[in-house]
Structures are given as structure tokens and as C-alpha cells.
Symmetry: C2
Subunit: 324 residues, 2 copies
């Protein structure tokens, strides 16, 4: 099987804890051939962990290496767009961690590049690959009509949480801090289940004294198909995930990672989606699969929800108005 020769750019939490385990499991499809990081020591430590690929001092030098097919960008969010564009200019495919950019306007630059290049630009939104959400979408096909959902995701972070401690997260250049950083996952899942979003009304709060920016959001959201919902997320206080979906006669509930369809528990296989996103990236590059799950349009729609929500201050904002 042909392998994609991959360079990992940025050697932080995402590279080590999220991408590397997936790539290790997919070592028939990906070979890690190079790494680089702003801090050389991090790159060298990471290189040791992943099989001693070449360590480059700078991203620019790495991009000159002709044995690299693709770069995997796991960077502070504000670097995603310029780094992805540079890679494409040097003839590399790109897989890049979500969110696509700090804001919709800058993300559109990458969208434009993606339309002109024959290289793949793949925004790694692992939640679009989580089986739980695909199962929910399928179960909802049994509803006569989906009316309303209430999804509460409360992942309170302690002061010593590894994400809360990240330098660039402490002084975020991306809109909404944690709200959009973690939140685009939730939007990806909602859009996978219910389709595109028409409008959102949202209100944010800054409850924590150590997380930067707002750490709580409550929303009312209407989808283009008329489904109405409340999506609520907190990063300062904690609770098991609670997600309830109502039809006139049916209910679907997710509680503590169990799914109940009309109160009957439904078994499913848990997955994180990282392995699946790299497999999808592979198929898009080598087997002409459509890039329907990692394209820039989808990633922009996820981010646009938060740009709308953060502008809202309790008022209704059409999401498409920010995209078009």
C-alpha cells in the first residue's frame, strides 16, 4: 500500500495525544518523515517518540524537502491559514487542526486557495467522524418529525488543565477563546445531525477567573429544516453530557455517553474520530474520494456559528450573513 509521507508541524498536545496515536495505528498509510516546532527541544522530544524522523529548525526549511507529501498542522489557531497556504504553495497536501482559523474573514483566504489548488486542504474536524453522532442522525430517521433538542456540554476545566495552560490559549487571537476552540466540534456534530443552521441567538458569560475570555455560552438555534434547539456549553463548571432530542412521539437521549431511543439503551462503538479523519484524508489524496468532511466550506460553517453567536448579545443573527 502506498504511504503518504507526512511532516508534523507543531509538537504540542494535539500532535502528541490526538494525532500520533491515530497515525501509529495507520502506519500502513502514513509515515512520519519530518517534524518541526517553534521550540526545537519539543520537536526533538517528539521526534524520539514517533520514530526519529528528521527535525527541521524552521517550517520554511521543512517545506523545501521534496520527500514530504503532506503536512499535518497542529498549531496555535492564528497560524493555521498562513501555514496552510505556504504548504500548498510548496506543493504539499495539508491536514490542519480545527478551527480553520481565528475568524471567518481570514478563513476565506484559505477557502479561496483551496478552490484553485490541486492539493488537498483538509480541516481535521474529528467530530464529523464520531460514530455516536452518525448513529444519532440515523435514529432520528425513525422520528416522524424532529422538533426540539437541548444539548448541554459542561466540561469545567481546572486551573492545571493542559489546554487551559497552553500559552496561546491564555492570550487567544481566535474569536471567543474556548467557546469557539472546543465549540466548533459541537457545531460540527449538530450540523451533521440536523443540517445547516439558519440563525442563532446567544449570550456568553465569563465565570472563571483563570480561563481567558468568555467560558459559558447559552444559545437558541434554528436549523434550516426548522429544528429548534438550545446548545449550551460551559468550560468553568462541570456536568455529564446531556443531550435530549424530541419529536411528538419519540425521544432520543444521550446521557453519560449512553444513547437511549425512547428510553431503550442503544449500543454503539465509541470512537474519537482521529483515526477515521486520517483515513479519510488518505482516501481523498490517493483514491479521489470527495473531500466532503474536511473541506474549508464545512469548517467555515462551524466557525461562522460562533462568530454569529459572539456577535449576538441576545439578538438573532443569520449565520449565512457571515459566510456570504
Amino acid at each position: 500500500m502506498k504511504k503518504i509521507r507526512l511532516a508534523i508541524v507543531g509538537c504540542g498536545i494535539a500532535a502528541r495525544d490526538l494525532h500520533y496515536p491515530a497515525l501509529k495505528a495507520l502506519n500502513d498509510k502514513f509515515e512520519i518523515v519530518a517534524v518541526t516546532s517553534r521550540t526545537k527541544k519539543h520537536a526533538e522530544e517528539f521526534a524520539k517518540l514517533v520514530g526519529n524522523p528528521e527535525v527541521f529548525d524552521t517550517y520554511e526549511e521543512l517545506l523545501e524537502a521534496d520527500y514530504i507529501d503532506a503536512v499535518d498542522l497542529t498549531l496555535p489557531i492564528h497560524l493555521n491559514v498562513p501555514f496552510a497556504i505556504k504548504a500548498v504553495e510548496k506543493g504539499k497536501h495539508v491536514i490542519c487542526e480545527k478551527p480553520i482559523s481565528t475568524d471567518v474573514e481570514s478563513a476565506k483566504q484559505l477557502l479561496n486557495v483551496s478552490k484553485e489548488t490541486n492539493k488537498v486542504i483538509y480541516i481535521a474536524e474529528n467530530w464529523r467522524h464520531i460514530k455516536k453522532f452518525r448513529l444519532i442522525k440515523n435514529l432520528l430517521k425513525n422520528f416522524k418529525e424532529v422538533l426540539y433538542f437541548n444539548w448541554r456540554i459542561f466540561v469545567g476545566m481546572k486551573k492545571d488543565n493542559k489546554y487551559a495552560k497552553t500559552d496561546w490559549r491564555k492570550k487567544p487571537q481566535h474569536i471567543g477563546g474556548f467557546l469557539s476552540d472546543a465549540g466548533v466540534h459541537h457545531v460540527a456534530a449538530m450540523r451533521l445531525i440536523f443540517g445547516d443552521i439558519d440563525w442563532v441567538t446567544a449570550y456568553t458569560k465569563d465565570f472563571s477567573d483563570y480561563l481567558s475570555g468568555p467560558d459559558f455560552i447559552s444559545t437558541i438555534v434554528e436549523f434550516k429544516n426548522g429544528v429548534i434547539g438550545n446548545y449550551v456549553a460551559s468550560y468553568s463548571f462541570n456536568e455529564e453530557e446531556q443531550f435530549e432530542i424530541y419529536g411528538k412521539e419519540n425521544t432520543l437521549k444521550v446521557l453519560k455517553n449512553k444513547i437511549f431511543y425512547n428510553e431503550k439503551e442503544i449500543d454503539f462503538e465509541e470512537n474519537m474520530g482521529y483515526k477515521e479523519e486520517f483515513e479519510d484524508f488518505y482516501e481523498v489524496i490517493l483514491n479521489n474520494k470527495e473531500n466532503d468532511l474536511g473541506n474549508c466550506e464545512e469548517a467555515i460553517k462551524d466557525l461562522a456559528f460562533f462568530e454569529a453567536a459572539l456577535k449576538s448579545n441576545g439578538n438573532k443573527i443569520k449565520v449565512d450573513a457571515l459566510i456570504n
Copy 2:
């Protein structure tokens, strides 16, 4: 013990199922001395049930009887204000079912009358007397800070529900149909627990094909003390009551009429509040108790929430702007 001689005006569901059981239990404080109803047959049947008081053909004739101290108005909502004003003009105290009126503007007429009369005008909001909500308020005093709540009240009504079948509810003259009719109870409880409301953003839906007007509402609401919440009510689909309140370290949850403080169940005495509201009415009339729970200002604040919510269409509305 001195008894209040009470006339019941309107002999429908509220009179029969809600007020009469309370009055029977308080027969040392209240004596039902007269009844009247638009449909004489209803009045005669009701009179038999409650001990054969005098049956009047019309409300106007009833108000001329000098042996009546107070009237209990259980009427279609749009009659509350004119009937209450007539009673006061004839020197009777008034207890009147919620909501105070069809809308805030008309309710203000009664408020103005209440400021000038020495008769008691008591809006019977039984939820202000429910012990569960008082217990919740007290338990929240143990929170360092109350941050957020999510309250979902889904009381799906079948086509043959006694309230859904009421003629005046089928063609409501009051704002929002069931949303405000039942909903003012919920606002009374929220205000009892969290205090006065600053603003609301709301969106309504009409899911049912047999309930008149919108039958679903989702809101974001901020209280003057900064507490933020989602209050959601449905009259077309059904679910056990779910009410969760979060602080940084504490939670309080109401599930299926059980209360859990930090996951520990707290016992409490269930009550409907009707007996307590009549006892309070008695104390206000005879023992100079302050009318803090049944006054027109409180009832207007409950209704104003819905007037704001129904105007909102996903945008933020200050509740006080409708009151002042």
C-alpha cells in the same frame, strides 16, 4: 374565628378542581355564600357540590348582595380586569385567578385601582406558595454563586385534555395562549427563586395542530442579579420535569418531582399552593398582613415576561420596558 363570606364567580375547572378543595379544607376561614356562572346550569351543579349557596343569574346581581365580603374570580382571562374592578367598586375584596389579564397594558388598569382602593385585590398565583420552590431558594443560599439554570417543562396535552378543550382557551384573547396561561406559574417560580428578570430572548413554535397559537417556547433569560438561564416549555410534547441549577461547585436538580442537592436527595412536602394562597388572602384581609404574594405588581411582572418573550422573535427584550 371570623369567616370571610365568599362568592365564587365562574364555575369551571379552576373553581371545581383547584379552589373548592382548598376552600373545603379552610371552612373555618371561608364560607361559600354565593355562586354565579355564565351558564346557569353550571352554577346550579356547582352550588350543589359546595353546600347550596345562593345561585345568582348575573354577576351584577351577585355584587349587590351585602352579605358577600369577597369574590373569587375563576373566569376566562379577558374578564379578570373588568370583573375585578366591578367588585371593588361594589366594596368587595377580590381573589382572582392568574394571569392577571390578557396583556400588561390592561393589567395596569387593575394595578391603578388596587392603589386607590382599601379593598384587597389578590391575584391567585399558587406557585408563589409551593414549598418546593421555597426550598430550592433556601438551598441556593448554600451556593457560593448561582451561575446558570436550565428548566424544561414539557406538559404535552392530548386533544381531550380538559384545559385544551375549554372554549375560551381554543380562541384565546390573552397573549400567547397556553404559553402565558400556564407559563406565568413558571415565571412566578423563577422570580421567587432568582429574583426579578432583566431581559429575555425567546423563540416560539406552533407544533400542535389542535392547540391554539404557539405551544412551545425556548428562552434565554438573565436576572437582575446576573443569573443566566434557559427556560423552555412545551405543551405539545411530553417529558418529566427537568430543572438543573449550577454554581461553580454546587448543583441543584429537580427531576420527576425529586430534589437533589449535590446529587443527594432532599425530602420535601409536596403542595399545590391553593390552600396556602387562600390562607394568605385571609390574613391580608383580616390580619393586616402585607399583600406581598398576591399583589398586582408581582402578577404584572410574571405576565410582562411573556409579553417580552412573545415580542422577542429571537431578540433581547428588557422586561421592565413593558412595565414602566
